[in-house]
Symmetry: C2
Subunit: 130 residues, 2 copies
């Protein structure tokens, strides 16, 4: 859980000025969580290696860390099948699924405004150059 301590500290230091969405951002948008949740939501229940391959550039160590975090937060469910070789399946939970509209909202904002951001960056860099 990457930046959580930061938010928590800030919230406790200056409670009245705390950004109300701080804690939830740490839960939902910490690193690798969106591709993992997205993959689980799109392609359903998956094994460890499937997720690993689908995400592409994540290492097993980090994937394990993120999956544990998401499981602890209740956003995914891990099922262990005691077979040989072992089989483990991950699926999105109801709580995780409840994020779908939010993600859709974000995707909509992106498709509408991402090119505006791009243009802004371009203009800013052009001005800085001269």
């Amino acid at each position: 859980m990457p930046t959580k301590p930061t938010w928590t500290a800030r919230a406790s230091n200056v409670p009245e000025e705390a950004c109300p969405i701080g804690p939830v951002v740490d839960i939902v948008f910490s690193r690798w969580t969106t591709p993992i949740l997205w993959s689980l939501h799109e392609h359903g229940r998956q094994r460890f290696v499937e997720l690993e391959r689908r995400i592409g550039t994540i290492t097993p160590k980090v994937l394990t860390q993120r999956l544990r975090q998401l499981e602890r937060d209740g956003l995914i469910v891990r099922t262990y099948h005691p077979e040989v070789p072992p089989r483990v399946e991950y699926e999105i939970s109801d709580l995780g699924r409840s994020l779908a509209p939010l993600f859709a909202h974000l995707a909509t904002w992106a498709s509408t405004n991402l090119d505006t951001v791009e243009r802004s960056r371009h203009d800013y860099d052009a001005k800085s150059a001269r």
Copy 2:
């Protein structure tokens, strides 16, 4: 711009499996951006020190970095008044303001589900302990 290279790299390596909300997450939810945008949205145009005090635990160096990033992305507007002493004002842009519904959505999700996350964590930790 903190984790951007990561997302970009992943997207270019495995385009077909890329999480579509990756890039926008880096823009909107990179560190300190939500409290800055929130403060600017709630309290209107503010000077550097006002923001610094309101956010509470951020250092000037980091605040400058984040403000520059947000300005470059077009989410805020910086106005420099050439006086002595200098006066600089920051305000949220139309593009930044367009994030308000999204933030509201996030706040709603948080108020509905944050205690579920808390309970899940508690249960998980209790199980791990034994």
